[in-house]
Amino acid sequence: MSREIHKRIEGRSPAFLALIAGLGILVLLGMGSAWTMEHNGHVITGMSNRIVWGMPHVFAVFLIVAASGALNVASISSVFGRTAYKPLSRLSVVLAIALLVGGLSVLVLDLGRPDRLIVAMTTYNFRSIFAWNIYLYVGFIAIAGVYLWLMMERSLNRFSKPAGMVAFIWRLALTTGTGSIFGFLVARQAYDAAVMAPLFIAMSFAFGLAIFILVIMFTSGGTGRELGEAMVRRLKNLLGIFVGAVLYFTIVQHLTNIYAAEHHAVERFILLDGGIYTTLFWVGQIIIGGALPLVLLFTPLFADSREAIALAALSVIAGGMAQLYVIIIGGQAFPLVLFPGKIVSSSFADGSIASYSPSLPEIGLGIGGVALALVIVAMAVKILALLPRTLADAETDPT
């Protein structure tokens, strides 16, 4: 048997070129959106002094969270010794880097002064979780890059396991940091909670794997590579467990809040009468992002159908976006409590729910970030030998 497990894709077919062109257009659209926002100021967006983080943050946080989750497939193989996943490790690492780059691009281009990125990279306030995150993100890209190199350079393969361990620990720290951006906001009723960090880790597992499953299905189908039943079933079961974990932490998050009278108002807002946020929570996050994928993945009705699994992965992604929208935007829409127990009003909308509707440039910027991540993956599988030649059961599961 040839030892050459991975192989570059040809990357000359009209379909591939069309894919790159399509994604390229979306990236340009994102850049145009960013330029428009930068040129006119954030006044053209839906954001305000009450909703200071809008749609770009929903996309950016989703991509960053998913990035650390996408690395999991590699970690399962190198850290937990499941050799069946090994052929997928390279793609897993590249997808993680690509998603992170896409997410960070959105985050940076939504800054008030993106031209001062150099300031963010050279001036640090170490009491800020944001500043730590800059290190965590840059470090993640560097570590993942080294990890990939050690896996691809056969003479250095023996070092890939410890590198995988470092990458795994680092990604846990990264997601903890991302969750803590919200968890550390003591004054905000919707955030101030330590459960944010583990919740974000569970979310990263689910979102990252959902994207990974779609990418591996798409690339296998598009390049005529075989994708064995056993591998699909493994990924499917894993996704189901992660979706369950997200639901579990979501329940813990809200039950803890409901127990404290202080948080009744914000819980009522999210769960009962928050309009769009309540709808997104129940329909988006819980039904589409949680219940539907579990039904698609585990009921005998669909019997491991690939369409059902792909649909489950898609609905996990859609539900994840809804969840982040509820957390990020809903959490800000609910007013700060300055005078507990009082009715407050002002010219600054104190005491009332802030309104927000995402603008086209915001959505365009977010989609541009997603497209950038996918373009990086598409180019990477053409340039580097990342994709396994085959994922037939006989190859991955010799037992």
């Binding site: 930068e38 006119n40 100021g41 954030h42 006044v43 954001m47 305000s48 002094n49 009450r50 200071v52 983080w53 800054l111 008030g112 002064r113 993106p114 001062r116 990125l117 300031v119 963010a120 001036t123 640090y124 306030n125 009491r127 800020s128 979780i129 944001f130 500043a131 800059i134 951006i181 550390f184 906001l185 003591v186 004054a187 905000r188 800000q332 700060l336 409590v337 300055l338 005078f339 127990g341 009082k342 009715i343 407050v344 009003s345 002002s346 010219s347 600054f348 909308a349 104190d350 802030a354 309104s355």
Partner: protein, 259 residues
């Protein structure tokens, strides 16, 4: 032109001062020319720091809001601040800056309501300073919390962290700024306690304007100086900080809150 000659002589003495700047003692600066034509001698202004003298942690600037004296409908403090610092709106209420605003607080049980100004509370433990990734959000030695717009990247995390909704993001291009209050698109800003006035020994514009209405609901001064008017009032009357449960030790305190 009463200014002509005095300006020149003032400038000359200032120059003499400058050359011996390193050796100059703080006390020697009383009655100093702060800017040509502005010479400070009055007792109320005696606290102006001298040229070249840094803000000191011996001073802790603070403000006391007497809610009993503040009227619903009066916006003298807000108007004065907007004029002084040049943040008049662009006609977009959701995105316009509001360094200071009037808040109406109503008790749902009794229906009794109060009106009071809300602005940066100049916390001793400011969350905005903690979360700022670049250190642009900063607290001066004398307790005034500022945004260093030279290093603000406009990430708006400070606005997420502030419990008082005290900060604004500049959503639109700005022109016609006041020379003493630089502000520009893409950066975050908030009440500065009129730091440019305070450094010259004057009161913040809002305090002066409130006094001008004869209400006198605002008192500004040094919380570390037990002889200052604000310290005496705080020692005499029960005052409170808003969201004192957060332990941020704000420099702005409220008197007569109906809680």
């Amino acid at each position: 032109m009463s200014c002509g000659n005095s300006c020149n002589s003032n400038t000359t003495s200032r120059r003499g001062f400058l050359t011996s700047m390193a050796a100059s003692a703080a006390g020697a600066t009383a009655g100093l020319t702060l800017a040509p034509g502005v010479t400070l001698f009055s007792p109320a202004q005696a606290r102006a720091r001298g040229k070249g003298e840094a803000a000191s942690s011996k001073v802790r600037w603070g403000m006391l809001v007497d809610a009993n004296k503040c009227d619903d409908g009066c916006t003298a403090c807000v108007d004065a601040c907007a004029d002084e610092n040049g943040w008049q709106g662009e006609g977009n209420p959701a995105t316009d800056a509001q360094w200071i605003r009037k808040v109406k607080v109503t008790d749902p049980g009794t229906g009794k309501s109060q009106s009071l100004p809300m602005m940066c509370q100049h916390c001793e433990e400011p969350p905005c300073v903690d979360v700022c990734p670049t250190g642009a959000s900063m607290k001066r030695a004398d307790g005034i919390v500022l945004v260093d717009k030279h290093s603000c990247i406009g990430c708006r995390y400070c606005m997420m962290a502030c419990p008082y909704q005290a900060r604004s993001f500049v959503h639109e291009p700005v022109s016609g700024q006041r020379t003493h209050a630089p502000r520009g698109k893409g950066t975050v800003e908030s009440c500065t306690f009129c730091v440019h006035r305070v450094d010259e020994g004057q009161q913040p514009a809002c305090v002066e304007a409130c006094g001008g209405t004869k209400r006198g609901a605002l008192t500004f001064g040094d919380l570390n100086d037990s002889e200052s008017e604000i310290s005496k009032k705080i020692a005499t009357y029960p005052t409170q900080a808003i969201r004192s449960d957060l332990g941020l030790k704000p420099g702005v305190r409220y008197l007569g809150l109906d809680t």
